[in-house]
Amino acid sequence: MLAALAVLAGLAAGTGCKSATAQPAPAPAAAPDARTSIPFDHSLHAGRNAIPCLACHTSADKSPVAGIPSVRRCMGCHRFVASDKQPIQALSQLFKDGQAPSWPRVYDLPDHVYFSHRMHIRAGLDCSKCHGNVAAMSKVTRVSPMKMGWCMTCHKQRGASTECITCHK
């Protein structure tokens, strides 16, 4: 549990712009480190195995935050699936040590932007609208600029709120 809290500190550091500057995100330790070197392939999970987005990003329809799956969730399958592969063994070791991988952020909004995944899913948007065809990406890259003008174009087209305070507070 302590380990879980320790990694949460990393998450919380990402919630305030100021905290990000005052306390830098945990720097990746000197390579090779299992926490930063585990390869994750979306095209394998979402593509070949056709696992739905919400199976791992479980809170996308319930919460403003989509959520990165916990290591326990990874191990739910990987205790059995591909457990002989080196990266999975590395993950398994991390889990045993009470540690979690440190994933580089692909989509990162500034801290003064409030974005709610659940409201966008409720509005009927498909994940791919913003995140692209992740099922075809081996390594996910950003496909949308995530700039205010880009958000506003869609908000205007769809008649969604264009008030500043909808996203900034």
């Binding site: 919380a12 979690a100 500034p110 507070k169």
Partner: protein
């Protein structure tokens, strides 16, 4: 050297300038951030959503229910628990600020051990610490030296465990000492003499038609402040139903006195004469309780009270006979009435007698059984704290203490008052301290064992029979601390002395007896039968000390006053409590001594001049604050600042001390100005009903505008502030500051008015010099419909939302401060610095509110993050918003229910109805600002 300057558009230039001035580092795309998932998520946690845990506040002994809001495994806000009978959803300023203690960077996390006397204390592992603890206990038991436990009041599971643990070690029950320095032991002692029941009664303030407080500052430190504030507010609300009066008698216009209809004072030390004169009136003019008394008792009372005829009492107390007569008649007429007290400010040498006189008066007026209740005595911990501390000190003097286990208590914080305790430490072989901070006692201990914070621990808390609050952990321990109860249990197991102790962990022991419903409710609450008490045969048989006060003849009586902003157990307050201004004086950060302006003038000093107070050889230097609400023959010092004057053996619960001599030192300091002028200067900010009627609605501006009116197609959010209910307790200020991540600026910046609180309590002194009237006005952004701030922003960072809020978009703000200059309510604060949130305080930040940067203007938005959260949830649930769904932080915590929030466009909402009340007015409404905040004028309070 020439520099090529690329051509820039105006917009690009502005963007660049803004970036330069506000330091956007960390928000750009170039800084790679990592995202780290949970290894295993906490149960029920969904990232981005809040979880709520019910627990109990341990900041004072009142034991209010608490609801902790947790995000991603960390508590980010504390609120009250509406289902808990004490507090009922509200918290005081100390409860709101408790989160600061949880994330205090100075909180102890690692045990430390002093190997032998004189050695330096070293950090050690838990194994080593627990080993040393068990060894010390083993040695003490082998040498037949007693083990004592000194703890704060623990009315619940931890207290029971401490008792059982001592018993398991074969120790006598008297060796568990409860240290409760401010417990008014004189009330118990008096009840024992008056009724033969040595317990504290409970009071039903809201049911009384006439409340008379004899120096009891019940909104501050007398019992349960949140519960009392709610009760007084209910009493106020019933004023329209008939005569309801609250009269305060005491030497100082305190927060509680300011809430009264009438503030009276008598010569310090003569309060008992007034009470006995009132008792005489009740006895002779048909008090409701007289007829039920045996004739013999009546005869003895008549004889005892004969001396207190009006003329003599007038002469001795300095209070007009007509006033005494009126008070007496009002008490008899009001059925039921209630006399509260004595409070600390009137408790001196005669405290027990005064308490007895008050209890007899409550019997004569029929209040006992109606508004004063005793519960079954067996259910209350009847251990008077001071007596057993004496027992501890005596045992130590005989050189016989093996181990002293201290559990969250520190008599050393009270200066010389417990000097005997300092000597005691030399007679103890081993001192083990369970604490959260390395304060005085911990620094002298052999072993310091860091306990969990109360928000991380299990216990039960029963502040009174029938109320069993459950204290449950609201998050996993932040630091490698251990629960004190488990350390004690482990030690007992190591020594194989486990008789009666639970076999598993302490948490399991508590959890096993509770259902999930109990945990969700926050406790087990049931009504208990009240205990019927009867007067002893001759209840007023006491010899009165003459009311004279010792000390220099020319000096002033020293009165030690309560403070809501300081922990009662003497801990130093955190920076949040220090920065929030004292509501009565407006001072933050420093201490002060209060003098009446006339007294100050006769001493040749003025506000800010430092004086030396001398009392029986002890001295203290404090700056003067002139307070018109003070008797001329006293000097008042707040309890947290008075410890230097406490003499050896002086009970800190007694606040009326000897006379002090005051010497001018010729130095001057600037006391932090919490707000501007003391006077309203005719601006009509804090109005009474009568003053409002006189205005005949003439001060609202006839609305004229060159622009189209704002449309509010869905909601217009509004707030109503009832000045009749508000008592200025500043709980809302702390709630706002915690909810909205407002930084603490420190004493230097506070002194030049740069505090960052979005909400403040304005305090004005009205009335005459003889009858000053303190008025409090909670002031926050008024969310004007015709807002002066909006039109002057050159970058459109502040604008009017469709729901009537004056939004402030921080990432757009370039810090011109035009809006701040143009706001007539001073509701906007400019952020002069990047205020750091060093780890682990950053974990307590509200993730729904941005942490603002240097160079932007900030303000209240009626907690727009809460409005949004509720609206999102309603949308997901497919329903409309209901009245009461949205509760800003200030409204949520108000113990007096003085704040009501809602949609002004919903005609059925409470806020819309109240905004139409005949007491409603807008502050500075004549400026044509059309505020969204409506104030309700204070009801009539005659000062006859």
């Amino acid at each position: 050297m020439s520099v090529d300057i690329p051509p820039v558009s105006r917009r690009r230039f502005l963007v660049g300038a803004a970036a330069g001035s506000t330091v956007l580092l960390g928000c750009g795309e170039t800084v790679a951030r990592h995202v780290i998932p949970w290894v295993a998520p906490p149960p029920d946690a969904i990232p981005g959503l809040s979880l709520f845990y019910r627990t109990v506040c341990r900041e004072c002994s009142a034991g209010c229910g608490m609801t902790a809001r947790s995000r991603e495994g960390h508590v980010v806000k504390l609120e009250g628990n509406p289902e808990h009978p004490i507090g009922r959803g509200a918290l005081c300023v100390r409860g709101q600020a408790a989160i600061e203690g949880l994330y205090d960077p100075k909180r102890l996390g690692v045990p430390s051990l002093r190997e032998h006397a004189g050695a330096a204390s070293k950090e050690v592992s838990w194994d080593a610490a627990e080993g040393a603890f068990a060894d010390a206990l083993r040695k003490a038991l082998a040498a037949s030296r007693p083990v004592f436990v000194l703890s704060r009041p623990e009315p619940g599971a931890v207290g029971t465990l401490l008792d059982t643990w001592l018993a398991a070690l074969g120790q006598a029950p008297g060796q568990r000492v409860t240290f409760d320095p401010l417990e008014p032991a004189f009330i118990r002692a008096a009840a024992s003499a008056t009724f033969g029941v040595a317990t504290q009664p409970s009071y039903d303030i809201a049911a009384a038609h006439m409340v008379l407080s004899i120096g009891a500052d019940f909104l501050e430190d007398w019992g349960s402040p949140v519960e009392h504030a709610r009760a007084l507010s209910e009493l106020r609300a019933k004023a329209s139903e008939g005569e309801r009066r609250f009269v305060y008698v005491g030497p100082r216009l305190s927060l509680t006195a300011a809430a009264a209809d009438e503030w009276l004072s008598v010569r310090p030390g003569t309060e008992i004469e007034l009470v006995l004169a009132l008792a005489r009136i009740a006895l002779t003019s048909g008090g409701a309780g007289v007829s039920a008394l045996p004739a013999a008792t009546v005869a003895k009372l008549t004889q005892a009270l004969a001396h207190y005829e009006l003329a003599g009492v007038e002469q001795r107390t300095g209070l007009a006979a007509s006033t005494i007569k009126r008070l007496g008649e009002q008490l008899v007429r009001a059925r039921p009435s209630l006399v509260l007290g004595p409070g600390r400010v009137v408790a001196g040498q005669n405290a027990v007698s005064l308490a007895r006189a008050i209890q007899v008066l409550n019997v004569l007026t029929g209040a006992v059984g109606q508004t004063v209740h005793w519960s079954e005595p067996a259910e209350q911990d009847a251990q008077p704290s001071v007596q057993s501390l004496d027992h501890l000190i005596e045992t130590a003097r005989a050189g016989r203490i093996g181990v002293l286990v201290v559990h969250h208590a520190d008599p050393l914080r009270f200066g010389a008052a417990f000097e005997g305790f300092t000597e005691l430490l030399e007679h103890v072989d081993f001192v083990a301290v369970f604490a959260n901070h390395a304060e005085e006692l911990a620094q002298r201990a052999n072993l310091v064992l860091p306990d969990h914070h109360f928000l991380e621990s299990w216990s039960t808390v029963s502040p009174r029979p029938g109320v069993q609050g459950i204290q449950q952990p609201t998050m996993s321990p932040l630091l490698p601390t251990r629960a004190a109860a488990d350390v004690l249990l482990d030690a007992a197991r190591t020594l194989e002395r486990t008789d009666g102790l639970p076999t598993g962990s302490f948490a399991e022991k508590i959890r096993d007896n509770l259902t999930p419903a109990d945990l969700q409710r926050g406790g087990i609450f049931d009504a208990r039968p009240v205990h019927v008490v009867a007067l002893v045969d001759d209840p007023l048989k006491f010899a009165l000390d003459s009311a004279s006060l010792d000390g220099p003849e020319s000096g002033l009586a020293l009165v030690v006053t309560p403070s809501l902003r300081h922990p009662e157990d003497g801990r130093s307050p955190g920076s949040l409590l220090s920065e929030i201004s004292d509501p009565v004086t407006g001072i933050s950060w420093s201490g002060w001594v209060e003098l009446h302006p006339a007294t100050a003038a006769s001493l040749g000093v003025a506000t800010g001049d430092v004086v030396r107070l001398v009392l029986a050889g002890r001295q203290l230097e404090l700056p003067v604050h002139e307070h018109a609400g003070l008797r001329r023959d006293i000097a008042a010092v707040g309890a947290p600042f008075a410890t230097g004057l406490l003499g050896r053996g002086v009970d800190p619960a007694l606040g009326l001390l000897s006379r002090v001599a005051i010497h001018k030192l010729g130095r001057h300091v600037a006391l932090a100005p919490g707000h501007g002028s003391d006077r309203q200067e005719g601006r009509g900010l804090a109005l009474t009903e009568a003053e409002l009627e006189k205005q005949e609605g003439g001060r609202e501006h006839t609305h004229l505008s060159m622009y189209a009116e704002h449309e509010h197609p869905t909601h217009r959010w509004g707030l109503v502030v009832d000045l009749d209910r508000c008592n200025g307790c500043v709980a809302c200020v702390a709630a706002c500051q915690v909810e909205n991540n407002s930084p603490i600026v420190g004493p230097k910046e506070a002194a030049i008015g740069r505090t960052m609180n979005w909400m403040r309590i304005e305090r004005f002194v009205e009335g005459s010099a003889e009858h000053p009237d303190l008025r409090f006005v909670p002031m926050m952004c008024q969310q004007c419909d015709n807002a002066p701030c909006e039109g002057v922003c050159p970058v459109y960072a502040t604008y009017h939302t469709a729901e009537g809020l004056n939004a402030q978009i921080y990432n757009r703000c370039v810090g011109t401060r035009y809006c701040e200059n143009n706001c007539p309510y001073q509701a906007r604060r400019f952020n002069w610095y990047d205020n750091p949130h060093p780890a682990p305080t950053n974990l307590g930040l509200n993730p729904d509110v941005s942490v603002r940067e240097r160079g932007v203007t900030e303000k209240c938005t009626f907690c727009v993050q809460r409005i949004r959260e509720v609206k999102e949830q309603a949308k997901l649930d497919g329903r409309q918003l209901r009245d009461g769904d949205v509760t800003p932080a200030c409204v949520q915590t108000c113990p007096a229910s003085a704040l009501v929030f809602g949609d002004l466009q919903d005609a059925g909402s409470r806020v819309a109805k109240l905004a139409d009340d005949k007491r409603a007015y807008h502050v500075l409404g004549h400026l044509n600002t059309k505020p969204g905040v409506t104030y309700l004028a204070r009801r009539r309070r005659e000062t006859t």
